[in-house]
Amino acid sequence: MYNLKQYNMKRILLLSFTFSFVLAFSAMAQRTVSGTVTSAEDGSAVPGVNVVLKGTTTGTTTDLDGNYRLSVPEEGGTLVFSFIGLTPQEVAIGARSVIDVGMESDVTELAEVVVTAFGIERQEKSLTYATQEVNGEKFTQAREANVVNSLSGQIAGVQVTNSNGAPGASSRIVLRGASTISGSNQPLFVVDGIPINNSNYGNGNAFGGFDSPNGAGDINPDDIASISVLKGPVAAALYGNRAANGVILITTKTGKGTKGLGISVNSSTTFDSPFRLPAFQNSYGQGASNSFFEFVDGQNGSAATDESWGMPLDAGLNAVQWNNYQSDGTTNGTTPWVSYPNNVRDFYQQGFTTNNGVAISGGDGTNAFRLSATNMTQKGIVPNTDFHRWNLNASGDLELTKGLNASFSANYIKGQADNLQSVGYSANNPVLQMIWSGRNVDLNGLKDYNNLPLAGPNTQAAGTPLNWNTLFENNPFWTQHTNLNGYDKDRLIGNAKITYKITDWLSAFVRSGMDTWSQRNGINKAIGTNEAVNGSFQELDRRFQEINNFFLVTADKTFGDFSGSISFGGNQMIQNYTNISGFIPGLEIPGVYNLSNIKSGNSPTLQNTIRDQRINSLLGNGRFSYREFVYLELSARNDWWSVLPTNNNSYFYPAASISFVLTDMFDFSSFTLPYLKVRAGWSKVGSAGGLSPYSTQQVFRFSQPAFGSVPRLYNPGTLNNPNIKPETTTGIEFGLSTKFFNGRISMDATYYDQTSSDLIVNVQTSSATGYTNAYNNVGEINNKGVELQLTSKIIDKKDFNFGINVNFASYNNRVVSVNNNGINNDKDDAINLTDPNSGTSGQWNVSLQAREGYKYGVLYGPAYLKDSEGNIVHKNGLPQYDPNYKVLGWYQPNWTGGVTFNVAYKGLSLSALVDAKWGGSMYSMTTTWGRYSGVLNETLKGRDVGIIGKGVMQVGTDADGNPTYAPNDVVVPAENYNKIAYSNSIAEGSVFDASYVKLRQLTLNYKLPDSWFGGTPFKNVNVALVGRNLALLYSKIPHVDPESAFSNADSSQGIEFGQIPSLRSLGFNINFKL
């Protein structure tokens, strides 16, 4: 099997040889200059470099060992060295006869070779669809723990959401927009040709649980050579049914091309702090109706009022507070009623992330290896949260005999956390009690929980360390140290590949790859925990294995002006998933978290699941070109997927695309417009959406726990469908690539229009049918948009560079229909998105929906009553609610964009990334409850004089009996107003425009001069200062980061409550080679 990059290089070589041979005749040889061209990076020889005497047609190319020899005039002149991917160099000959040159790689040029389907590297010129690549350097620089985050703002049409700032938090990535209702909208991740699992097996949602890393987050950013993003179905059609949302191709580093031994070392540390905290008021303390909350035992008396509508703070008052409570249950007097303006900020600690890695690579030019080891450690900003990851990576290339090559790569990943942070509306989330709180509470006085009295015997928190509230909450520091969400994951991703070049035009390879992992979670809840007074423990073990066996035969021929390459291949995917879970609802012996320690009389919940599936595929691909300015690509794939019914399980995915390099075709390449290419493509890809194995047959299930010792069998509420068929995404795209001013500015623009139909949805049905839901093919989603990528090198001098890169993408996403085929005759067509873990979505009265005529991800819930002009209608001074729920917004944006500025002076370079998301909404329950409970700054308004709500009130009726309105002028107490205007009964007041502009990243890198390290083994020493998530330049959402989400699930987006704040990180990075 040939390698396309080598193939291209050989062709360049051939052309260059011919070229120089022709030229040689016309040159007047007077003396000879010779030398060796090497890579400045690793000192290895560079073959095929053009060496031309400036201003003449005299030239040659370097041989396989990088040597050249050229006749030059006696008076010398200037030699120009150039090669694709390397920065051209001009060297004055002077009197020298030996000129050795070290050439630097040119990042812009490198990007023109792009990794495409099945890891085939191709020249950008020959591509017929939208693909964009990010070089590995970016990931090393960004120092993001989760590699998905470092794609944020870098690539047009990629939307990244980082859930929250807890260690191990998941990230979501969506290309071009949502295309399925029941399945995941995230792309397929492929590492070195092997699809990998990107699932998040956490259970974080609006009402608790914890988030855990998404599968792709296991990859070590330092091992990545490049990431190619195949955005649409045209580029991804060859990957078949799992590629409807695009493909992210990750190529890891290998030792390929190295000669001798190279060692590189990388070390970084970043310091993390909360990016944004709510603005709290500090003028009024705990209580309701302006009266004191007097602490009895944290729960009786006034029913544990956990609000701040009480007496003024810092006014010389004293009250019985939690810290007056004594071990014997009495209180000892009072303490001053004062504010603690920093009580929340001080709760958070300095977090940090360290990353240390070493890589060794070596080879003899043909055979090569690379080994790397990296450790990442995160300590969270919330006490006692952490995450660790170890990555070991090995790869090798071996030429067995001429034409027969073997290669392998293996990644072992261990992820571990003693405690992943609980999220959502749960007493295990300490942020909950910063929002439902008394602003007089000295939170940090609770820190030394071991030396505090225990909560009183009649309280919900009885027996646990004292808290300011013992009915709804536990001491947050105690919770953080006792109620742990443990995480352990071992994973191996690897592949072995044998390539055989049968003749010079026919080659073949076989590759077998595996992604296998096992993950354990232990979820501890101590006795006395608010939500589990008897304590509880859950042990969860999951195993996953996916094997892909793949072969591809390629024939490659050139006939005159035509050249063609035809491949035929097949793949077998075998996936097995199992899980086993044990849960005990009470502990017998405190502090022992083992399933055997079940409280006497309790029944355990024991469950295990097996899920097996298989996909068999055959595929073909043809690429044809005419004189290297017309390119045509045709591909076809057929999948047989076991999760589908046997009569519907075979699906065909065709794609066709074409491009024209107009500048070459009509020969008008100039300095101003050296390059112009147009392209068009069409494709069809299938998907099974959210369909999991065994969804075509009805079974009885066991409800857990048993009733004592009696198992509870039931008929599940979802009706499976034996006639379900796959979803289909059909897309067209048009593109344009162009360069201006000799390549100083390049631009790539794409327009796409893709429609996903026959969406598989677990449709809600009338329960009177016997089922709450039934699987069916319903609905259609359309995505249209423009992607624009602009790269510039405005100043390009030897010692000084300045460039700006811009990317922009618009998203016109529309749920065209949720026509439900006779299962649900909803005139008001909408389908609630469901959380894969909890089965619900949204929070309180807001649901997330796919609603006909709207963008996917509608926030649907209770709204204010309005008059015909849109003013809120008040009654007795209080806002009224509309009896009908309404569309309050949607979470998908209108457009995203990013601007990167790069400045370099000698070894010093500065890079800044500003990114923006525009449009879309977020429902912020932090704002709702923070206003309801009177803790947020804005609740100070009208505390003394009352509030006149903005809007109207009814003053009578007109002749037709319709209400007539006048501006509202009724004054109501601020507490009453806030409790009616913001509560779980009314969502509209807390839905905000989620647009933002962020200073995402700032990197200052200094490459220390090699001369400083003369006589030492150190080379290429770089030190960098890195800053991430530095500033929110624009946002309309108060109090929280507009990017928040509970997890990376589609059903956990656009809503927020009590998030662990996202991180502002500052740090440094050092790397060098030996």
Partner: protein
């Protein structure tokens, strides 16, 4: 090629985790358990049952007490009784037919009838004839009028009576968490349930002949016949009241002033069982309702909590109690619809209720039963029977409210006992049904609209009366 490319796929996609066929008895456990949990949840039993019937009263979170209902509760009640109770009982019936087991077939019919009676009493007209047929492709079931639903309930119970008498087939005792596999008790339950149903529609239909005929069949004759689920010691298999009030520490459920005053006026020995002493060591109720609570007048400390007996982990969930059954017979006898003495049924009802409340002091019971207002008086017998039934149904919120609703007719505009709407109530009358769940408006809209315009005498509101009340 296509055949070789999906070889073994059918085997691979066959679920190894769960069975396609199970013995019919095995489905009983979950049906009974979930039915009990739904009826005795603090929302249904407490907020929308016992609070509406002035037995419980809350010191905080009074929306439901003031007739502002949570749509999610209305929805989950409908979902549970249709998809987990009725639907599973139909699955059980199909399995029983395949097994040729007449006994479990009979049980499945009793369970279906029970689900239907609860659903129709809550909502009015409901889907029945076209219900539970998704597997046959019926996704838009029409609603049947309540009288038609009741006909279907009686038909199912008659068939159940026959099948349970056949002696063909067994119930696996361990799965029967109601009667431990005793088919004769299921038969008694079937017929007793039919009597309750007949009494429920007796304002509208002359049920005398049917009552007499049913009395001749096996019916409840002792406390041990009662249809009840006895919960276990530990959550989540414990009584739902225990799980919310004790386990989760939600102590806002207190006793209503109406109830406390009534029992105090008659020196009822059941009062200290139904209510705990407050912080001052006395039993004190709170009027139902009020927006702004708790306050100095009524707070967590000075109002009595629902009695510990009713928040015990093992407190039973009654599907039909023996005391209620006796009071129904007393009413039927007093109205001359059945033979027998109304007085002796009445006395048996009180005695049964005392026993159900764990009161064993015979002297105290006989003193009470001889007391004024309690001792049977044929002049005010119907009122006495109604009042005693209301007391006996303490803790069975849904049934208390339903039987009270039935008493709102003719001269008894305020029902038996006479109840006023809650303080600061959202509606000026006590709710008389649940509105249809929101999902029906979207998933079954045509039939829903048809039901609202044809089957209800008013809008789809909680204050609209169901057919048997009119």
């Amino acid at each position: 090629m296509a055949t070789s490319c999906d070889k073994d796929f059918e085997t691979i996609n066959t679920n190894p985790n769960a069975p396609v066929v199970v013995p019919s008895s095995n489905l009983m456990t979950n049906i009974i358990f979930l039915g009990g949990n739904q009826l005795y949840s603090t929302f249904v039993n407490g907020d929308m049952g016992a609070c509406w019937a002035h037995q419980f009263s809350k010191v905080q979170y009074n929306d439901e007490s003031r007739y502002i209902v949570r749509q999610s509760v209305i929805q989950s009640f409908w979902d549970t009784f249709y998809t987990q109770f009725y639907s599973d009982a139909v699955s059980m019936q199909k399995l029983a037919i395949a097994e040729g087991n007449m006994t479990t077939h009979g049980v499945s019919l009793v369970l279906q009838a029970y689900a239907l009676s609860v659903l129709t009493d809550a909502y009015g007209g409901i889907p029945n004839a076209e219900a539970i047929q998704a597997t046959e492709g019926v996704f838009f079931p029409k609603y049947d009028a309540q009288d038609v639903v009741y006909d279907s309930i009686f038909a199912k119970l008659d068939r159940a009576n026959m099948m349970l008498a056949s002696g063909q087939g067994d119930i696996t005792p361990s799965f029967d968490i109601m009667y431990a596999g005793d088919a004769s008790k299921w038969q008694k339950f079937a017929n007793s349930l039919k009597i309750r149903g007949l009494m429920r529609i007796s304002n509208k239909v002359d049920v005398s002949a049917e009552l007499k005929a049913t009395m001749a069949k096996p019916i409840f004759t002792s406390l041990s016949d009662a249809a009840k689920l006895v919960y276990l010691e530990e959550q989540p298999n414990a009584n739902p009241m225990y799980e919310t009030v004790i386990y989760s520490g939600r102590k806002e459920w207190k006793v209503a002033a109406t109830f406390v005053n009534m029992l105090q006026s008659m020196n009822d020995p059941r009062l200290p069982v139904c209510a705990n002493e407050n912080g001052d060591g006395v039993i004190r109720g709170k009027p139902v309702g009020f927006i702004n609570v708790p306050n100095d007048d009524y707070n967590y400390d000075n109002v009595s909590q629902v009695g510990a007996f009713y928040t015990e982990a093992t407190a039973p969930a009654y599907f039909l109690s023996f005391s209620e059954f006796q009071f129904l017979l007393a009413e039927a006898a007093q109205k001359g619809w059945i033979n027998g003495s109304a007085e002796s049924y009445y006395n048996a009802g009180i005695a049964a209720s005392m026993a159900e409340n764990g009161i064993t002091d015979g002297n105290a019971i006989s003193t009470y039963m001889a007391g004024s207002g309690v001792a049977f008086n044929s002049g005010s017998a119907l009122n006495q029977i109604g009042t005693q039934k209301w007391i006996a149904l303490f803790g069975q919120g849904f049934e208390s409210w339903t039987e009270w609703r039935r008493s709102v007719s003719g001269d008894n505009a305020k029902g038996i006992p006479a109840l006023d709407p809650a303080a600061e109530a959202f509606y000026s009358s006590i709710p008389t049904r649940y509105n249809y769940p929101r999902n029906e408006q979207t998933t079954n809209s045509a039939n829903y609209k048809d039901a609202v315009s044809n089957l209800l005498t008013g809008d789809d509101l909680i204050t609209t009366k169901v057919w048997w009340m009119n």
